[in-house]
Point group: C3
Chain length 338, copies 3
Amino acid sequence: MTVDPRFYAPSGALTLEQIAELTGAEVFGSPDTEVKGISSAANARRGDLVFLEGDGKSAPDISAEASLFVVNEPNRKYLPEGAEGLVSPLARHVHSVAALKMFRLRHIDWSGELRIDATARVHDDAVIAPGAVIGPGASVGEGTRIGANAVIGPGVQVGRNCSIGPGATVFCALLGDHVTLLAGARIGETGFGVMASPHGLSDAPHMGRVILQDHVTIGANTCIDRGVFDDTIVGERTKIDNLCQIAHNVVLGRSVLVAAFGGISGSVRVGNNSMLGGRVGIADHVKVGDGVSLAASAGLFRNIEDGETWGGTPAKPLRQWMREVAWLQKQANPKKSG
Amino acid sequence: MTVDPRFYAPSGALTLEQIAELTGAEVFGSPDTEVKGISSAANARRGDLVFLEGDGKSAPDISAEASLFVVNEPNRKYLPEGAEGLVSPLARHVHSVAALKMFRLRHIDWSGELRIDATARVHDDAVIAPGAVIGPGASVGEGTRIGANAVIGPGVQVGRNCSIGPGATVFCALLGDHVTLLAGARIGETGFGVMASPHGLSDAPHMGRVILQDHVTIGANTCIDRGVFDDTIVGERTKIDNLCQIAHNVVLGRSVLVAAFGGISGSVRVGNNSMLGGRVGIADHVKVGDGVSLAASAGLFRNIEDGETWGGTPAKPLRQWMREVAWLQKQANPKKSG
Amino acid sequence: MTVDPRFYAPSGALTLEQIAELTGAEVFGSPDTEVKGISSAANARRGDLVFLEGDGKSAPDISAEASLFVVNEPNRKYLPEGAEGLVSPLARHVHSVAALKMFRLRHIDWSGELRIDATARVHDDAVIAPGAVIGPGASVGEGTRIGANAVIGPGVQVGRNCSIGPGATVFCALLGDHVTLLAGARIGETGFGVMASPHGLSDAPHMGRVILQDHVTIGANTCIDRGVFDDTIVGERTKIDNLCQIAHNVVLGRSVLVAAFGGISGSVRVGNNSMLGGRVGIADHVKVGDGVSLAASAGLFRNIEDGETWGGTPAKPLRQWMREVAWLQKQANPKKSG
């Protein structure tokens, strides 16, 4: 995906040689080749710089258009024909240096006293409570209510008849119509991505967005991180309870229910009409089908097909988990069961 | 219970016929009968409209005064003699349409620049930090401190010598004296109640309140949802840690301790002097007695009598759980135990 | 440790006799001896008042300089030679009364309309977003960004090139350089410490601080409580995800990773380069070595040596836990395994 200029100000293309000078990485292909965008490998368009990292044991997902790469040695074998780019043992770090040079988060420079920025578009029939702050280029639709001391960041688009709770904060996000955020919801913060850098652990930059579709409800103090370079998406009529964590690049389908303390790790997919009980956790990259039920406090580490009901940690089919619970109780407590 | 006009502005009675016209439900009894209030079935007064939904397999809890019902077919058999009302397969939806027509949350219309509303009553000896916002009709008692950027919603009553933390938000709530809310606490948001509507999943309206009695302490970023039509109540000297979730209609007794990540689902009752370790979860409608201890990370799905100590998920008496843990360890690791 | 006057205004020394009059405790030693400071027993300097409480079955950790004590009967035997002080069955309560008489949290008195206090030192190159509030005596370094509606409390020191997220609140804390707090992070709130008082359960006062070293990142809505009388410390380049709870007096080493919903109880120590998966809980006073890994949803109640990998609840070495999980599954589901 292309970085959205509503949230990230582009500061011009870089040549591979310029990136090499900034980072010490080694160029392959033409040093004058220009990098015009930044992306994940899976969703790159021509001219976007992507990175491949890891031990090289499994083939990465690479878009057919991808042409410019930062790569470590073990992943060179996966480069498509005609690829150009840079080689470095710290491929993600090099990619990040280029990304941060080419794009600047607009809200980093947001300052001043003006509560509602002069360039924000707020509909006449929107209701803005005291202390709410609306950033440059943001948009608030008809009939929408922004609660007291809430924050709508630069470039954020809020549709019609939405309700943004008091003290909630929304950045790098597009909200449909009839979206409800309760108090203290945190939409569009950077995700938890830690990478190796020459100086030790560093935060990986996140340049994606959050998309909340129509009729989505997000509970109090729930966090929905923006994508790394792609989007975090919550589908129509999906309802998320208080104190949940939805990580970067997650895609939740339509009419999904997530009860309190739900924790959904990076890049998880959940199908339509699935139900997650309280305190359910799902490990990263797991795929959950449509119409799945996860019992309260399940910890899921594997993909689940449509229509299944699972529970336990590690999660397994509910009946199997219940059989294990009952069997253990009987075996370990002979007097009671005898 | 009657809807509290400090938080919900009444907009007049409706006849059964008017509700039928709005929703397509079918009237039984006199179409001209007026609905004057909205309530849960269990706590209705004469003239309140209540709903009965579900599969009808168990008898609902109905107040002796209840006279006006929205009901689905399977629950018609539970209607008391002389009942009037409406029939619909989406009984809760019909009830909600009427509720939202008859009462309007006051904070929906709160707007403007005034940090401390002209109609708020703030004691001269209260201390209001910069950025704090206090809504119409709210009251702040002697010696109470409102932290920076905190929000006290319309009609909220805060007693004497309370401390409201920075960035905390309080709506639809009555606070006693010496109540402490730490930073980012979310009091009185709408609960997680999802119902079927003609368009798909919808948020069920919540028109109850939160009551925090004297000397209650609520941790940072903890959420206490308001009741659906009744109250969520936290008893005197009960202390709740950070990042806990207390759902709608919960009643906690006096001097209860809830450690971090405690999750108490809707309509749970917890007796006096009970202690919940970190990350304890309790399923909805469960009743916990006085003086109960729940070990850290317990997941409770059943009622517990006074004085019991339980642990594990699903929770059971602590000794039994520990016996199972020890037995499993011994059986599965023969070398270590041999 | 000495109470930091940037956060707590000292109001003068008390004699033992004065404390006895306030509390009804009984003096031993000279009634005219002056108490000049307040501390934990383990880190007291000469002239600090400390307390010893509990059943006296294990010897408390007492600094060699400690000289002034509030003690209950069972702990009198641990008093060093020449000790003076007070005896009371509610030793911690008596100590708290003295502490609150001698020191007053500065932010309790913070009021007014001034968003950036006249006595705050904000570097010219810092960026302060709309609605942010900065208290008396606070300091914000070069290149640091304070997000919209964030709160920097009285006396808080924020270094250079930090990013304080929107709606975050920071009290009683010292932040190094390049520290990042995401939206809604709660730094320096009082911890969860409940003590017996003559009136029932009371909140124990916390007079310590939070120290966040260089390059620390704290996730959205994560809470880091200040120490009771000592400090809560997060080491250089340690990265903490959203919705975590770090309790009073915790010390995390360098480059520690804590994934979402991590819960670290009071006085826990975690060594350098350790990794905690999602939803890991650690019981109070546990010591975790360097380079330890804890699998997602582990509940740890025991100390762990360097380099270990543990999982499960109660946590044990990962291989052992997995063996138990596999064994139970096989035994309880004979058809599948047969």
